[in-house]
Symmetry: C3
Subunit: 431 residues, 3 copies
């Protein structure tokens, strides 16, 4: 096969030399040997037809190219494709690394100070120096293939358009989205495929069954975030941001459905989101209570440092899935996988993802978290299951420490704290 | 895109007004704006070609339609499609809500009194007032998208045929079945796709590779339950019901295969089912024994009421996946997911679903259940791992209570009970 | 449908009787009734066109055929398809049962004596009498559908080519590989489908998107193992075997990519493999340490015999997923599922399989293993969490036993053993 390709391309070369002498002389002879697929795909591309040659995107400084200093990033493409670039930059795709970081900030009681990892005080534009704790703990190889392979969509059009082919047929096919939008943490691809929308697409074509692009890139926009009412981690936007977005999405639904239908479907998704967030919050409180009582195994101060927070317990956006206690790891799955599946399943009208892969897992995970908490409390001499209950003074000490932590985290008011503290000390006197 | 659709449809409208004046006058002008896809799909349908207009299915009382009081359910379709309706009603699809309930009654020792949830005493026709404990515990939103979205197949032809398109190409495509027959509890879609049947369909077309419909809707029947020898939860039918069903399925197999081959393949499925049921039963016994000894954490009387059984332990058809103990939740997965995958995988000839997603998970889950039982027994001072063994009188008391529960559940005979009780009391005297 | 098939084939029969009288007279009349699909597929096959009739492959002794003594195995096909057979036999497909066994020997510290299960002392050719512990523990039905259905590729061309169709279109379609190369232990099919290669194939066809066959059966070879640098279980080959294999794979990559690109991509896979193997090894050491301290629950001597190793702990190639302790079952998942997904995901450039289905699961599983180890140690009175610490003499005894086991397994040298032993005895004297 390789041989016949070479024969054909050598012939093509002769033609090329005549029609675009610079290119042919400089790049093609070698690259037919070195990167045959790249040449082949470029030859089949709209760029080729329009006379856009190698040097237009790659420049003509071969030494620089070799050293990897002439990357064809978004700015190169944007010089011609201005509208697409502007739309892209306004979307979540345009802040993919930031999005990667932002996507985990879905905890109701999160430390607001952490906003500064991404934002100037009070500002909404993300800074460049974003850090993701999970990324920081990866080897460079896992970081490359496991993180940046997808998150580089921020600065590389090739993420979707491929490198040299840049075929619209490829990029308008929903399969193109599958490369990144799949897996345990955001199986949008899988849930679309087996939704009514997806099965209609497969059985009756795009006129009847909408694709990812139909709803998320309506009218060909590159702003894939139009109409979204939450962060990529599922934290609901405040209403002043959510309401206009919802209106945008309803306009898209209304291309096929009645306004009432669209409104009802999306409102159901909102309700599922609120309910699921409450389950998450219940689980998170259990973990913080165990931490207050020094019952996590191991406690944060017995582990390798968290890359951003050191020895502190982290259950927010920057939560890790390594070197934590078992109960935190259960919570990680719950938050990152089960919650995402439930709510994205509901918005995409997929029963199995909403219910079985989502809601049922959320609830079973909560059972597991409670069971582990019960074991840890028993170990610590607390609760009905404890074998050797602690004496009253020790118990009061512990409860005071818990109270003090809760007021610091803003879970209870100063007033509630004072009242509870008084009650505990009174109890101690009586015994 | 929306604009050009409107232009085309406005022109179409002019034509429509001439050929079906009532319809056009009443519905189309508005609905081209309000539900454009519905109009478009109806226009492409066999109904349109046959002159069947909106009012034929929806009636002409617009006020009623708006209030949702003129639903196009199965009775409306059945007025014309009589044979399909009769076949559908005779099938599991025709009792989808009941089936949803029935699908979980796969426990060998289940309380026969519970048959009355579905059936008149001694009767086989299900009653209307079926209740599903898991459904009763859902929010209305999860109930809608997570339960009824699929289980409404009982009364809605649109579940498979879609609302206005009603294209036979859609409904004969196996992808149509994927919307419901997928996921952790019954991945029939996934296991067919990667079975020999499914891969032959994908690689060589329907002449060589049979679809869901080829075997489960042979000769176009709407009775999808022909040839099935168990409940949807995998409880084997008694032989007087199973034997004629098996004959029916073998006739379907024989369209392609030799009688001997079909018989052997299905018999293998039966054997896998029997073996898998035994593993389930072993796990269930462990849980009931822990319950007899008050070792579940939490015990049923420490939880929110079960919607149908209150404070009783439920491991049968009505088992919940929320607010139970950890060991019950492990059993839920085992019964609802692992068992289903193993046996359905075997009947659909999918090695990975039978073995790895099924049988291996069943066995690993049994390990987990035994490990958790060991922890709970240790906590309760029972067994080799116990730290503070109870005194003999307490032990005897406990064992007598367990015995008494076992005879009540019918696990042992009155005679066995009397013999065991005498032995325990004798032992106590000797010590 | 059955009827019309019969009509057509009866007519065809008349023609057949004229063109190939022996066949028609002997087999077709009956088999049109008994195995209609087989006849139909053979009629559409290249064999039919070339005049290859039933007796050429099945022989003409009908009694033998009926008794299953005339199986059309690889030798029958190989008589004509010599090159394919030779290539197949040189590949992992040609030793599928042995491969099934070999695939699990991925433990760094495995007992080298076990090589003799497959190999003559010092030899590299596997013996016939291979035994797989997991297979030996299956019922014959699970063994059939769950093990041999795929592993029979060793001796049956029909595994890929199907029985009578033998169409090249089927076998060149990547879907054909999905039947076996899927599932939790080796989801090559799933990870290719959502990789860049797979999505390009789906969206732009085979000229742009390579299939399984493009890379693993380049130039149509039947040696699917060309270019592979590890056992099917992921144990890296020694460099004298790995280096030439890597060169072969790079030649395949170079059909499309630059040599530098291919080298970098594969080297990244190697790095991920090394890192993942280290995580596995850490987990395995924890289990052996618990075993040395008799803390597994249950210990190997309290379980049914391992089919090959009896009462010994097995964490290598022959590890079981039934009747083990909970912590071993966690390790089974880690080794057989998580490790495979991580490294195969990396080599196939699939971010979600490398990271979320792979690396994250590996690390979360390690958390779970450490948590369970902590519980078991607490139960055994060891470590910070222990409730009733053992006295010094008992502790010293135990540590000496652990040391002695470690030196026997080759984890520490004789010298280290002597030094540690002296230190322990000194400590005892001081207390």
């Amino acid at each position: 096969m390789k041989h016949s390709i070479i024969q054909v391309t050598v012939q093509l070369l002769a033609v090329l030399i005549m029609i675009c002498p610079v290119l042919a002389e400089d790049c093609i002879p070698c690259h037919l040997e070195k990167t045959p697929a790249a040449v082949r795909q470029w030859e089949a591309s709209a760029h080729f037809k329009a006379g856009i040659g190698c040097e237009k995107c790659h420049g003509s400084d071969h030494a620089k190219i070799i050293k990897g200093e002439a990357k064809v990033d978004m700015k190169v493409c944007g010089a011609c494709h201005k509208k697409a670039l502007t739309e892209h930059n306004a979307s979540r795709h345009g802040m993919a690394l930031h999005s990667g970081w932002g996507c985990t900030r879905n905890l109701p009681a999160r430390n607001q100070g952490e906003c500064r990892f991404c934002h100037e005080d009070g500002g909404s534009v993300p800074q460049g120096g974003v850090q993701c704790a999970r990324f920081l703990r990866q080897s460079s190889e896992i970081g490359e293939i496991g993180c940046n392979y997808c998150h580089s969509v921020e600065s590389s059009c090739a993420s979707c358009h491929t490198n040299h082919n840049t075929s619209l047929a490829i990029v308008r096919d929903p399969n193109s989205c599958a490369k990144c939008h799949m897996g345990p943490d955001h199986p949008q691809w899988e849930m679309w495929q087996t939704s009514l929308h997806g099965t209609l697409y497969t059985t009756a074509g795009i006129a009847t069954g909408p694709t990812c692009q139909s709803c998320h890139m309506a009218q060909g926009t590159h702003n894939v975030s139009i109409g979204i009412t939450m962060s990529s981690g599922g934290v609901p936007y405040p209403s002043q941001k959510a309401e206009p977005a919802r209106k945008e999405m309803l306009q898209i639904c209304n291309q096929c459905h009645s306004p009432e239908f669209g409104r009802k479907e999306l409102a159901r998704g909102d309700a599922v989101r609120t309910q699921s967030l409450a389950i998450l919050k219940e689980a998170e409180k259990i973990i913080w209570d165990l931490s207050d009582r020094s019952l996590l195994d191991p406690m944060p101060d017995q582990r390798p440092d968290h890359p951003l927070s050191g020895k502190k317990l982290v259950t927010d956006a920057q939560m890790l899935y390594e070197d934590t206690s078992h109960i935190e790891r259960l919570f990680f799955k719950m938050k990152k996988y089960d919650y995402a599946r439930t709510i994205k399943g509901a918005y995409h009208q997929n029963p199995a993802y909403t219910h079985w892969y989502g809601n049922a897992e959320l609830k079973m995970n909560l059972i597991d978290i409670k069971a582990e908490a019960s074991r840890l409390r028993e170990r610590g001499g607390i609760g009905a299951a404890a074998k050797k209950p602690a004496d009253q003074a020790t118990t009061t000490d512990r409860e005071l420490r818990v109270l003090s932590n809760r007021v610091k985290r803003g879970e209870i008011t100063e007033e509630q704290y004072a009242r509870e503290k008084a009650r505990l000390l009174e109890e101690l006197k009586l015994k």
